[in-house]
């Protein structure tokens, strides 16, 4: 069943001295049943069907440890928190152990110059091979670079320099993927997303505020396992996780279809677990895997906790209307505008109508009486 293959599927030459994942696992005393179990769990994590486990096993046997450089810009560390607080450490740890996280502000011991040297060293050693993970947005090339710098280097310069020799870029979190909170109106720091700047390398967006930990590791696992980029949607998000909307996978969907809705957070409907559409749920327009993967090790997720989906994995969700306004409700106040337009309508209508009326009256003044005499002339 487990057929070890000596070559990577893509035939790329593996860097020397590095053990394959299979070797590394067996050296750690993982049995073949353990490996099978690992593959089953990995398939689950990558949102692949369980029948893919043997393929994963075959690929992992020969997978090499990639070098990863993690750049944090205008962010809140929520994405890193999400990743490190993951609740099924065995699998994720194995993945993280397998990758070579050569630079990560928050997690690495080194600081200052030493840290920057580590980054540069990893870039040189793995030129063309390494992955760049970015969390946070960054001030665009036209904006004041002083809004965010690391070791005196502007975010923009650091990103462009690091990305130059990368194999691919993974933008983790809605800030890196779409600009997120820093880019929300009025966007004082001129924030932009990674994909706005990186045009010549593949960019994978793992959006969410924060993204599901399993999705972050799942994307890494997929790259690691198959050595290629996953299939992406129009926002460059992996279809395996972002292919279906929250609404389509929501366990409360049957209530939407039946027309049973919670109208307040504490009414009967809310207690019975009815649909949260009217409380502002953005599930119908939000594409993410929360409804099946859930949070906190599969414990629950916002809708299950009775909170409407905020749509955090969609572009510009901060500016997409009130979190607790139904999806069909337009942002802003239409009422005053309607009154003003209505009043103007009445005024214009009255003006035009009275003009027309005076026209009819004027015509009546010009009326020439029809007489029998003039009718007779016709005969």
């Amino acid at each position: 069943m487990v057929t070890a293959s000596p070559h990577r599927p893509d035939g790329r030459p593996a860097p020397a001295r590095q053990a394959t994942l299979g070797e590394s696992l067996r050296r750690n005393g993982v049995s073949r049943r353990g490996f099978l179990k690992f593959c089953a769990a990995t398939a689950s994590m990558m949102a692949l069907p369980p029948s893919m486990a043997p393929a994963i096993a075959a690929a992992l046997e020969s997978a090499r440890r990639p070098s990863v450089i993690w750049l944090s810009f205008q962010e809140c560390t929520g994405c890193t928190e999400s990743l490190t607080r993951s609740f099924s450490p065995t699998v994720e740890n194995l993945i993280l152990d397998t990758i070579s996280l050569d630079y990560h502000h928050t997690l690495q011991a080194a600081a200052g110059d030493a840290a920057e040297h580590a980054r540069e060293a990893a870039m040189h050693a793995n030129a063309g091979e390494y992955l760049v993970v970015v969390d946070g947005s960054l001030p665009g090339p036209g904006a004041n670079p002083g809004y965010s710098t690391i070791a005196g280097i502007s975010n923009y310069d650091m990103l462009m320099e690091t990305v130059a020799d990368a194999a691919a870029v993974i933008a983790v979190g809605s800030c890196a993927a779409f600009g997120g909170l820093p880019k929300a109106s009025p966007n004082p720091s001129g924030a932009v997303a990674v994909q706005d700047l990186v045009k010549d390398k593949p960019v994978i967006n793992v959006s969410g505020c924060p993204p599901l930990p399993m999705v972050i590791t799942g994307v890494l696992a997929q790259y690691l396992t198959f050595g290629k980029l996953p299939e992406l949607d129009q926002y460059n998000r992996p279809l395996a996780f972002f292919g279906q909307s929250i609404h389509d996978r929501c366990y409360r969907r049957p209530f939407y279809d039946k027309g049973l809705f919670a109208e307040t957070f504490d009414d009967e409907g809310a207690k019975k677990g009815w649909c949260l559409y009217r409380l502002g749920c953005k599930g119908p327009m939000t594409y993410n895997a929360c409804a099946t993967m859930k949070w906190n090790g599969g414990t629950s997720w916002p809708v299950e906790a009775g909170a409407p989906c905020l749509g955090c994995s969609e572009p510009d969700f901060w500016d997409a209307g009130g979190f607790y306004d139904a999806l069909s409700v337009p942002p802003g106040n239409s009422g005053d505008m309607l009154l003003a337009a209505g009043a103007a309508g009445v005024a214009v209508g009255a003006g035009v109508g009275l003009l027309a009326r005076s026209q009819a009256k004027g015509a009546a003044k010009q009326h020439q009486t029809v007489t029998a005499e003039e009718l007779e002339q016709k005969l």
Binding site: V352, A356, Q366, A372, E373, K378
Partner: protein, 461 residues
């Protein structure tokens, strides 16, 4: 009314109601007349039409010819164009844009030109407005958005008259009505002969110019010529019921060609004669004869034509007879035992609300009365009203439209038809004869007179 205002671009004398040149009728005058007729109902009707075409299914002229041009709302197209151009904000805006923008240079002038009401257009629409419409108002009853199409046809005819595009037959009838007092040129002398005849055969007096009578009785020329039985029947019934009534030498004609041709000026002249006669004799009530449009003319349009309310009431003879019946003043004996059916004149039933009265009277004298399937306010027109019968050009269409009535009659297979309008009665008689259907048509007043209890006659005489 006589205010001196000149139409721009037309060298017309003051509209003082005296002589006018024949060339006085013009497109400008026609459009002006149409503008006068624009009001809130017209604007709401044109705003609402979605071209569903259901009015066509209500029109005997369309139903029997199948020609889409006879769709009622289409008959109003010139008026609609004028309304849109001059009485809507959007239409005016388009007009301004047409003038201000260099559309001709952009080659867009054709797309934005819009239709214009021309003299040719009004000429083209003349047969649609007169020959194929009796203003029966059935379309006004079925329109889903509530358009009163008949109301607008009446208005549109004002424009036709003022632009000189009205049928010769109606023009001639109007001229005769104004000049001789009768659309058929009938004089009092002729009526006087008939009065003598009635007095001889009944032995009763026909009161003439009786001051302070309760009722002034009017007649229609067509009745006097074709159905002299009416006056005799009326004389008998009123004598029987002890009604105080009179004829007026000053004005005996009830019909109003002005209403039919669509001229409120002509209508006003003719209505004024009735009002003058009624006021001269100081009567309390005026009775319109067995004629549909005469009732509409005097009862509904008259006060508006002369712009004041009457000091007397106006009734159709059928209303008066039913009131006498209700008061127990008519005693009848015997009933007709053949199968009788009833044709409601449009002007009386749908357009005036006199529907139950004729049925009460039928029940009095008919054993075997059967209503046509669609009757009362939803009845079908005979095809001759609204001036169609005075318009020789419309002969063929008039007969075509009658086929709907014929089909209705065939459905219930009566032995005789009863009606209460001389125009309807003539059309029914001619139509049934044309299709060789042996169904006599009688007037309801005569039918009642035939069944009066003889012995009571003397008591009131």
């Amino acid at each position: 009314m006589t205010e001196a205002v000149l139409t721009p671009g037309a060298d017309l004398p003051e509209s003082s109601g005296t002589t006018q040149a024949a060339g006085g009728f013009s497109l400008a005058r026609g459009l002006n007349a149409l503008r006068e007729e624009m009001d809130a109902p017209v604007a709401s009707f044109f705003s609402s039409c979605v071209h569903c075409g259901l009015c066509a299914t209500a029109c005997p002229f369309f139903v029997e010819t199948g020609d889409p041009k006879y769709t009622p709302i289409h008959k109003l197209e010139p008026m609609r164009i004028l309304w849109e151009q001059e009485f809507t904000f959007w239409g005016k805006l388009k007009g301004v844009l047409r003038e201000k923008l260099p559309l001709d240079k952009l080659g867009l002038d054709k797309h934005f030109a819009g239709k214009q009401v021309t003299d040719e257009m009004l000429a083209e629409w003349e047969p649609l407005l007169y020959d194929s419409c009796t203003m029966c108002g059935r379309c006004s009853m079925v329109c889903p958005v509530g358009n009163d199409i008949q109301y607008m046809i009446r208005k549109a005819r004002e424009g036709q008259v003022a632009s000189g595009h009205s049928p010769e037959g109606l023009v001639a009838a109007s001229v005769r009505a104004v000049n001789t007092g009768s659309p058929m040129g009938l004089k009092w002398k002729t009526l006087d002969v008939q009065i003598r005849h009635v007095e001889q055969s009944t032995g009763l007096e026909v009161p003439i110019d009786k001051q302070g009578a309760d009722y002034l009785v009017l007649l229609s020329s067509m009745e006097i010529i074709n159905f002299p039985e009416y006056l005799e029947a009326l004389t008998k019934i009123f004598a029987h019921a002890g009604v105080s009534w009179t004829l007026s030498q000053q004005c005996f004609e009830a019909t109003n060609a002005g209403i039919q041709i669509g001229s409120k000026d002509i209508a006003a002249v003719l209505v004024q004669r009735v009002v003058d006669a009624a006021e001269a004799l100081d009567v309390k009530n005026v009775i319109s004869p067995e004629c549909g449009h005469a009732y509409t003319a005097i009862r509904w349009e008259g006060p508006n034509a002369i712009k004041r309310a009457y000091p007397f009431k106006v009734f159709h003879i059928i209303e008066v007879l039913d009131q006498l019946r209700a008061d127990g003043r008519i005693k009848t004996e015997g009933r007709e035992d053949d199968r009788l059916s009833l044709h409601d004149p449009c002007n009386l039933a749908r357009k005036s609300g006199v529907i139950q009265q004729q049925r009460n009277l039928m029940d009095l004298v008919a054993e075997n009365f059967v209503d046509l399937k669609e009757h009362g306010k939803m009845q079908w027109c005979c095809g001759a009203g609204g001036g169609v019968s005075s318009n020789e050009r419309a002969e063929a269409l008039k007969l075509a439209a009658f086929k709907k009535k014929k089909a209705q009659i065939e459905e219930v297979e009566p032995d005789r038809m009863v009606t209460m309008c001389a125009t309807c009665r003539t059309q029914l008689e001619e139509g049934l004869e044309e299709f060789t259907m042996d169904i006599p048509v009688i007037g309801l007043t005569e039918l009642i007179a035939d069944h009066l209890v003889e012995s009571d006659e003397g008591t009131h005489a």
